[in-house]
Symmetry: C2
Subunit: 146 residues, 2 copies
């Protein structure tokens, strides 16, 4: 295929903006102090989308694996990784929708996340529309303006 005519890098670099910390049942996203200012106004939202890096799957071999049996179950059909949520994929990005329990300084306490302790977090975005109408859902007024 043709590459874009403009100059386009063939890689992009991301830096962790924080880490998942798990202590018993408590789950905290600890934001690095350099990025704490980026949390202003987050308390107006009930839910966030947490972007993290499947760091334990960030190996050259796993990043080359293009087909898997979903959920590690060989009775599931061999499936391209872009048709699964497998942690094994070319760019091992994870997303999780989480409920905010509290925000104190650089620490966001969330209800739960399916990630290991110390997983690097690369971005946080607010959830703008309820995916499951019926659960407690809240956005700030500026979102509602047309």
């Amino acid at each position: 295929m043709n590459k874009p005519k403009n100059l386009m890098p063939n890689f992009f670099v991301m830096n962790p903006i924080g880490y998942i910390r798990k202590t018993g049942d408590k789950v905290i996203i600890e934001i690095l102090s350099d990025y704490q200012d980026a949390l202003l106004g987050l308390e107006g939202f009930s839910h966030i989308i947490v972007f993290s890096w499947f760091h334990v799957n960030d190996t050259a071999e796993k990043r080359k694996t293009l087909r898997v049996h979903p959920r590690g179950n060989r009775t599931n059909p061999l499936t391209g990784v872009f048709a699964t949520r497998s942690p094994v994929r070319p760019n091992p990005i994870a997303i999780s929708t989480c409920k905010i329990l509290s925000i104190k300084k650089n620490k966001i306490q969330i209800d739960r996340i399916d990630s290991f302790d110390n997983t690097p977090v690369i971005d946080i975005k607010p959830l703008l529309h309820s995916e499951e109408p019926g659960h407690e859902f809240r956005v700030p007024d500026w979102i509602k303006k047309k």
Copy 2:
């Protein structure tokens, strides 16, 4: 804050897996041929989440900008970028939920995407739950198994 005790890199590298191509009203995700095998089974889903890179905002200055007036409207309150969908953010990742119109070889035609022509795509994940009940929504049988 304490860094994790295990060795943890302070950056992660991503490679484009394809590019957005816009021709008139037609929107195609052109997957690089190296990654075409990762599309197997994607036709079983009605919708995908497209992860792309806000490449025009990938500058050192914009990546250091932690607060913005949402939607570029100065009447909106100054807000931390993690509480907005602003393209200006430490790691300029974008996500869009798109409807699949067709998949032919390495080309996925989608309904629409709010991205520039030639935007690099870094990941594709299937949409597992309908965010807007009522729109046409479909997943393969292996998803429905408990």
